[in-house]
Amino acid sequence: MFVQVLNGLAFGVLLLVLSSGLALIFGLRGVVNFAHGAIYMLAAYVGLSVSDRTSFWFALLTVPVLLAGAGLLVDRYGLRFLVGRSPLDMVLLTFGITFVVADVVQTFWGTQARTIDPPAVLAGSTDLGFATYPTYRLFVIVMGLLVCAGLMAWLRFSRTGLFVRAAGDDRVTSGAMGINVDRVSATVVALGFGLAGLAGVLAGPYLTLSPAMGTEILITTFIVVVVGGLGSIGGPMVAALLIGLANSLATVQAPTLAAYVPYLLMLVVLLLRPQGIAGRRTAL
């Protein structure tokens, strides 16, 4: 039972990292990043190649930075042209990126399933007193929670975090108050892509790598964000842990129903609160 909870926590934390990136980009840019899953997948494959040649730790450091750079490019040469146009155009743009990335991954890495080897320190399992548990998953849990706590603290207490929240609420007024909105949004998109990249590398040794992994997790991440409420950061965090736990418990208790659990949770929440757990109606 404890092991199941831990499993749920590990998956939930992975969703947490991914969905906070998605929620961040949506909150400020008003973009639902359909490329989020593809970026996550790309990061996992690049992480595979980098950690094969150097080490896992090096991949964990560099790959998110690399993808954050890609985020800057996407913002500068794509999303920025679409400011003031229908938000659906931005969805379509990121959707186009998904197809390009899927093709790139299939061309360079093929279609068969792969895994990243965890570093030696994290390879075995740890005795927690009540159970032994794979060390790598513990690492994922700790790492993910730290990153999310850092993100929350950054948004809450720092000056740039304040700018990000302000520009998300009202672009024009923030600009008039002297915030460089373009720079802030470039930062946010880069950060969101970087978080997707981090999640991809973290997932490498834990889940298997396949060309379908991006879509699979994108759907779950969307469910997390819709359930949590678009336009909030805290809501998706709660929802991510909830769905992670529900998923893992259902896998044991009712295996045939497990695949439906996130969807059912989503339907229940939406029927009761169409704007999600912590969403604001006006945010859209």
Binding site: F26, A102, D103, V104, T107, I219, V225
Partner: protein
């Protein structure tokens, strides 16, 4: 030609363009029937594929055009209609027409149920939600292996006589072409007419400002549910048509990329016009076919084309054609631009000539 154009002017002008559009469409519809005599059998097969995909793209494009809602879940209705048709054909001994109708009805019903839930969800969350529900149906399809046979797919043998021909004959593109083309053109006409009704205009108003419509006392929930259902019915029609012409369905019909590609096709073609999505489907099939030899990078190419279209011409190819036509017209006309830009419509103020004619008619 004095003063600003009145509302009556604008409406008359719009009706006149509409008449021209209707005529052009009629010519196209009739001319299209001649395709088997002009192009080779292989090309005809590709064209038929494009038309079925165009029908699915049309359903998504029309929804986007009319309600501003981006659906990633239409593969569900497409696939459900296909599977339902094959299931009814195997289990019940109905005439073929009823079998096909039952299949389409299942797709439509699914769209209605999905619409009831998703329409409540605001704006962009709708796109995410339809994607999630589409994948839910895909997961369910995978688990109902006894009905769907999973990724292996089902070979469906339909029997009976449809429109004076044995259904099996529709496996041949030459025989199937009039049916596929006719259905597509009929749906194009129906959707075009539907968007010109009061109801269609009201939908567009809800798209532009839902809150204002609600405060003006119009229902905004049900019209959109109905629009979603209509769109789902067209997707279901596409699914059943696909089954009739290929006699095969597999789980990939339900997969999200079916909706995704259809959406891309609709956007590339242009969703502002009803004919845009089928046009996009033709371009897609041509592109896919010409790239088939070169390592099959059509995914990347399609993605790049989509990105460029979104950035450069949000109205899709239809907009590009319109722009080119306008530029050509400007270059060709010797008249100064000021005059060329004026609306050439009769003013409502009675001129002596008009008054005289009206008097004579009485």
């Amino acid at each position: 030609m004095s003063g600003t154009p009145t509302v009556a002017d604008t409406l008359r002008r719009r009706n006149r363009t509409a008449r021209w559009q209707a005529l052009a469409w009629l010519v196209l519809a009739v001319a299209g029937l001649g395709a088997p005599w002009v192009i080779s059998l292989y090309q005809l097969q590709l064209a038929q594929q494009a038309m079925v995909m165009g029908l699915l793209a049309l359903s998504i494009g029309w929804l986007l055009r009319q309600t501003g809602q981006l659906s990633f879940g239409h593969a569900a209705f497409y696939g459900i209609a296909g599977y339902a048709t094959s299931y009814v054909a195997q289990e019940a001994d109905l005439p073929i027409g009823l079998t096909l109708l039952a299949g389409i009805a299942c797709g439509t019903l699914a769209a209605f149920v999905v619409g009831l839930v998703t329409i409540r969800v605001p704006g962009i969350a709708f796109a995410m939600l339809t994607l999630a529900i589409g994948m839910l149906v895909w997961v369910a399809g995978g688990q109902l292996h006894s009905v769907t046979r999973g990724a292996d797919g089902l070979n469906v043998s339909l029997d009976g006589t449809l429109l004076g021909k044995d259904v099996v004959m529709y496996g041949n593109p030459v025989e199937a072409w009039p049916l596929v083309w006719g259905v597509l053109m009929a749906v194009v006409a129906a959707l075009w007419a539907l968007s010109r009704t009061t109801w269609g205009r009201r939908l567009a108003s809800i798209r532009d400002n839902e809150e204002r419509m609600r405060f003006s006392g119009y229902a905004t929930y049900w019209p959109r549910v109905v629009a979603f259902t209509v769109s789902g019915a067209v997707a279901g029609l596409a699914g059943t048509l696909n089954l009739v012409t290929t006699s095969f369905i597999s789980l990939s019909a339900l997969f999200w990329s079916t909706s995704g590609i259809a959406l891309i096709v609709a956007v590339i073609g242009g969703v502002r016009s009803v004919l845009g999505p089928p046009l996009g489907a033709v371009l897609f099939v041509v592109l896919q076919n010409s790239l088939a030899g070169s390592g099959n990078h059509y995914q990347a190419v399609i993605g790049v084309v989509l990105i460029v279209v979104v950035l450069v011409a949000p109205g899709g190819c239809v907009e590009l054609v319109e722009r080119a036509a306008a530029a050509a017209r400007r270059r060709l006309s010797r008249r100064p631009r000021k005059e060329a830009g004026m609306p050439v419509v009769p003013t409502p103020t009675p001129t002596p000539d008009r008054g005289g004619r009206r008097a004579a008619a009485r």
